[in-house]
């Protein structure tokens, strides 16, 4: 009976709060503006970051977690670019040297790329990335074939003019034709298409499916040796990445006959470095968003407190009546707390709805993918309701302490 009574009191107060907010629609919506902005900021940024995370996870999955990359430049340059400018190119000879000596390496695959025009019949694609790869490429990355096949070892070692095309290249050049066995021109040179790579999707608005792959030796013989290669080294035991990295560093220094006093003139990159930088970046974003969000929530909360105080004064007589016929202090507190938390909850709800629109716009209009994570929806509404409870406490306490006789006399 006691619990039933408590439930009835709660439910009736809920209805009272709803009616009183509905009676002042304009005031209600204006009051919740601060809360809306606060929650919207946090949920929107969360949706962008969650989208980025998803995109990044895809991107990262292309970069194997157990692969080390020996490059001329570090992937992330925090200081001045010119420091790295005079580094010598990484060569195929160094790749062979690593393959010969490294004990941690399971597979070593050098790669290099250039940009070129690709033609098929009357169709022309300009500025396409042509990537030279070796047979071991399929051991260091996830290289799935949609149609046709991967290069054979002979095609790679004999530097044959064969090509594997990205999924979008196929769509753009061949449309409904079967591309396998067809001749295409890359930078004016004839190549035979032997395979189509499986669709990989977009990263930050950049398609991963508009590359053309040829054997690395072929790329060199047809287009020259000028460019630096990147050496991809798959490590046998993923728990020994650190040791493997040190070993590669040692062999690179040996290959380049560097004196102990000379610094490295190459970089060993890995997924983890990117991941760490990415986390630092998003942490910054999160912090900024939570800062702005929290600030507007506080401002919004003070607005709520203010309007609730006004409401208490306006409804002094109503409070007097309620107390006169038996409402306890706790009941009055409950009534006003429900009202202020509902006020904020409505703000949170509006913000969540808006954030769906915002994230849809971001997804459509910018290269960033954005999805509203469920936790931010639930969290947004609950958190803003709690804000309402917090900032409603003082006005509610004030209302509950009103003297019934005095309140009844109030006009």
């Amino acid at each position: 009976m006691k619990w039933l009574g408590a439930f009835i009191t709660f439910w009736e107060n809920f209805k009272i709060a709803f009616k009183s907010l509905a009676a002042n629609k304009m005031r209600t919506s204006l009051t919740t503006l601060g809360i809306v902005i606060g929650v919207l900021t946090i949920v929107s940024v969360a949706s962008i970051i969650s989208g980025l995370n998803k995109g990044f996870a895809e991107q990262i999955s292309n970069i194997g977690s157990n692969v080390l990359y020996i490059n001329k430049y570090p992937w992330i340059i925090m200081d001045d670019w010119y420091k790295y400018k005079n580094r010598p190119d990484i060569t195929l000879r160094e790749a062979s040297f690593i393959r010969e000596h490294s004990k941690y390496a399971e597979a070593v695959a050098p790669t290099s790329g250039r940009r070129s025009i690709v033609k098929y019949k009357d169709k022309i694609l300009e500025d396409i990335r042509v990537v030279g790869i070796v047979y071991e490429e399929k051991d260091v990355e996830n290289f799935e074939i949609d149609e046709g096949r991967f290069f054979s070892p002979i095609e790679v070692s004999r530097k044959r003019s064969v090509a594997i095309i990205g999924y979008e290249i196929k769509e753009r050049l061949f449309e409904d034709d079967d591309p396998i066995g067809k001749k295409i021109l890359i930078g004016g040179q004839k190549f035979v298409v032997v395979g189509v790579r499986s669709k990989r999707g977009n990263i930050f608005g950049q398609s991963l499916d508009i590359d053309v792959y040829v054997p690395l030796g072929t790329l060199y013989s047809k287009f020259g040796h000028r460019r630096s290669v990147g050496i991809q080294v798959k490590v046998k035991d993923p728990s020994l990445m650190e040791e493997a990295s040190e070993e590669l560093r040692f062999w690179m220094r040996v290959a380049r006959a560097l004196k102990p006093t000379e610094p490295d003139n190459f970089s060993i990159n890995r997924q983890e470095t990117l991941l760490k930088t990415y986390r630092d970046l998003t942490r910054g974003l999160y912090t900024a968003a939570f800062g702005i969000g929290a600030l507007s929530l506080i401002v919004g909360g003070i607005g709520i407190m203010n309007i609730m105080l006004v409401s208490v004064t306006e409804r002094k007589r109503e409070i007097g009546i309620r107390k006169a016929i038996g409402a306890k202090r706790s009941t009055i507190v409950l009534q006003f707390l429900i009202e202020s938390s509902m006020l904020c909850g409505v703000g949170g709800l509006i913000a969540v709805i808006l954030s769906f629109i915002v994230s849809m716009l971001i997804d459509k209009l910018t290269p960033f993918p954005a999805t509203v994570p469920l936790w931010s929806v639930v969290g947004g509404v609950i958190f803003s309701s709690l804000i309402g409870v917090f900032f409603g406490l003082y006005p509610a306490a004030k209302a509950s302490k009103l003297d019934p006789v005095e309140s009844l006399r109030y006009e």
Partner: protein, 229 residues
């Protein structure tokens, strides 16, 4: 007969700045179950103050108050609220209805605070409205009712929790004589059905409805016609 109310040495002092206003200077009053009492006295004599104390809306500065043998003067805020809800029905001069709620909801209000479930609440409230002759006006808001009708809604609200005591502070003060008479007829019926009623009035002809008249001046009882028989 049972003692319903026993007041002994009730004093009420208001402090306004440094001035002390002695609204009640020592009231002794015993009310039995089923009495119908009118309190009369000039303006400012302390009638409303006394009613508010009897109705547990206010607490005395000094003195002892027993309601049905229970020491009310020792109660805390939440216990007083419960007394107001269950034991006392208060009718005010200015009606004091919730303006945004319809008649039915206004009458239901004490039942809500008593924790009565919705369906039962509705039945009881409708019955109370029937007693005051407003069954067909239950969906009207106070602004859509006449003064007399509003006061009858307020009486229905006061009755709804079957209180031991019905208090009315100048219930006809804002009504014309015809509406006033209607309200007094309801009080008469309630009295005949065994309710205990205390009302405050300035008008002799209103006070004549009661069976006992208590005169107050300057916070003291100066005359009491006593219990009839």
């Amino acid at each position: 007969m049972d003692k319903l109310i026993e007041l002994k040495g009730i004093k009420k002092v208001y402090k306004v700045g440094k001035v002390e206003v002695h609204a009640l200077r020592g009231i002794d009053l015993t009310v039995r179950k089923g009495e119908y009492i009118a309190i009369m006295g000039p303006s400012g004599s302390g009638k409303s103050t006394l009613m508010n104390i009897i109705g547990c809306l206010d607490t005395p500065t000094e003195g002892v108050y027993h309601l049905e043998g229970v020491p009310v003067h020792e109660m805390n805020d939440s216990q007083l609220a419960e007394i107001r809800n269950k034991k006392i029905g208060f009718v005010f001069q200015t009606f004091n209805l919730l303006p945004r709620a319809n008649a039915l909801h206004n009458v239901e209000l004490p039942l809500i605070y008593a924790g009565v479930p919705a369906s039962r609440r509705k039945k009881i409230a409708e019955h109370a409205l029937e007693i005051v002759g407003l069954k067909d006006r239950k969906h009207h808001r106070p602004s859509e009712l006449s003064g007399g009708q509003r006061q009858r809604v307020a009486i229905a609200r006061a009755l709804v929790n079957r209180p031991s005591l019905l208090l009315a502070d100048e219930p006809t003060g804002n009504l014309d004589s015809k509406a006033g008479e209607e309200v007094m007829k309801i009080f008469e019926e309630l009295y005949e059905n065994g309710n205990t009623i205390i009302l405050v009035t300035h008008e002799k002809y209103i006070a004549d409805h009661a069976r006992r008249i208590v005169h107050i001046r300057d916070g003291r009882i100066i005359d009491d016609t006593g219990v009839a028989s």
